[in-house]
């Protein structure tokens, strides 16, 4: 049963990866290259001390970035499916509902919570901290994101047993509290001295929406694959029917 979940997760990852790979190829790659050039042409000097002669060609960057995007989605799909296997009994909702709850928790953990301190940076950003420190902060924030997700799901379960709508309100409390506290407490550690604010916002929105889309596609695909498998085996009652053999 664990293997069925993992297989569906990787399949869903391939579906999301195709979408995200196309997005990388036709939107994110050209836009990132453009922003990179726009700032270099201004006689831009990278303030952070590694005005590198690029180690690889632009074509390599474009191809590897698309490949990384596909691999990223497959990786998230695998992690998502394993987490779904273990946590499904504790998640609110049935089937598709619980998959989307977990996908939301995944987005909150992997992306949204870390972004409150380390927002997505457009090419050419000036960073206040070293990369080692930022990666350490990132790991800490992923752990915090997981705690916040657990708190949101926990408070939903606690309140929703009495009143369903109040449960949804209760679930947003830990999320909103974290967002408010972190965004007021955290210092601004990334700046874009040579880019218009609107452009930076658009780039960040692109990053946020595309990551959220990956999670949405993963949840939808995993549920779709599961439904398809249960209907295709529905006529065969016996050892092939996963539900009759599951412990």
């Amino acid at each position: 049963m664990l293997y069925d979940y993992l297989r569906r997760g990787v399949q869903a990852g391939v579906i999301a990866g195709l979408a995200y790979g196309l997005f990388m190829a036709f939107v994110a790659n050209p836009l990132s290259e453009y922003l990179h050039h726009a700032q270099h042409d201004h006689g831009h000097d990278h303030g952070h001390g590694h005005d590198h002669a690029h180690a690889v060609s632009e074509t390599t960057t474009a191809i590897v970035s698309v490949g990384s995007g596909v691999l990223w989605a497959i990786f998230l799909g695998g992690v998502f499916a394993i987490a779904l296997y273990f946590l499904e009994p504790a998640l609110p909702g049935r089937g598709t509902g619980s998959a989307f709850v977990l996908a939301g928790a995944g987005f909150l953990t992997v992306s949204a919570t870390p972004w409150l301190v380390l927002p997505p940076a457009a090419p050419g950003a000036e960073q206040l901290y070293t990369v080692e420190l930022r990666l350490a902060i990132y790991v800490g924030l992923v752990a915090l994101g997981a705690l916040v997700s657990a708190a949101a799901i926990g408070s939903y379960g606690w309140v929703a047993s009495r009143h369903r709508a109040l449960g949804i309100v209760a679930a947003t409390v830990p999320i909103v509290a974290t967002a408010v506290v972190l965004s007021t407490v955290a210092p601004t550690i990334v700046s874009h001295p040579e880019l218009a604010g609107e452009l930076v916002s658009a780039y960040q929105a692109m990053a946020a929406l595309s990551q959220a889309a990956i999670w949405g596609i993963l949840a939808a695909s995993v549920s779709w694959l599961e439904r398809r498998e249960t209907t295709s085996t529905a006529g065969v009652v016996g050892p092939n029917d996963r539900r009759s053999t599951s412990p």
Binding site: Y3, M24, A28, N29, F75, P89, A207, S210, P247
Partner: protein, 60 residues
């Protein structure tokens, strides 16, 4: 089905996975995460540059 708990799922996983298999899977996942998110080698960094920016992964 509805009475299933997280503990049941863990027990079921224990029944089908050896510790070696579980460790292999975790190592594999950690390897992918390390390469995509943490690896700062200039070659890897520059090659994945657009992806890391667009996915909001901290780099440089």
């Amino acid at each position: 089905m509805s009475e299933e708990t997280v503990t049941d799922r863990i027990d079921a996983a224990r029944a089908v996975l050896t510790p070696i298999q579980a460790a292999t899977g975790l190592t594999f996942a950690a390897g992918i995460a390390f390469v995509l998110v943490f690896l700062q080698d200039p070659l890897a960094h520059d090659a994945m540059h657009n992806f890391r920016h667009a996915a909001g992964i901290t780099c440089h």
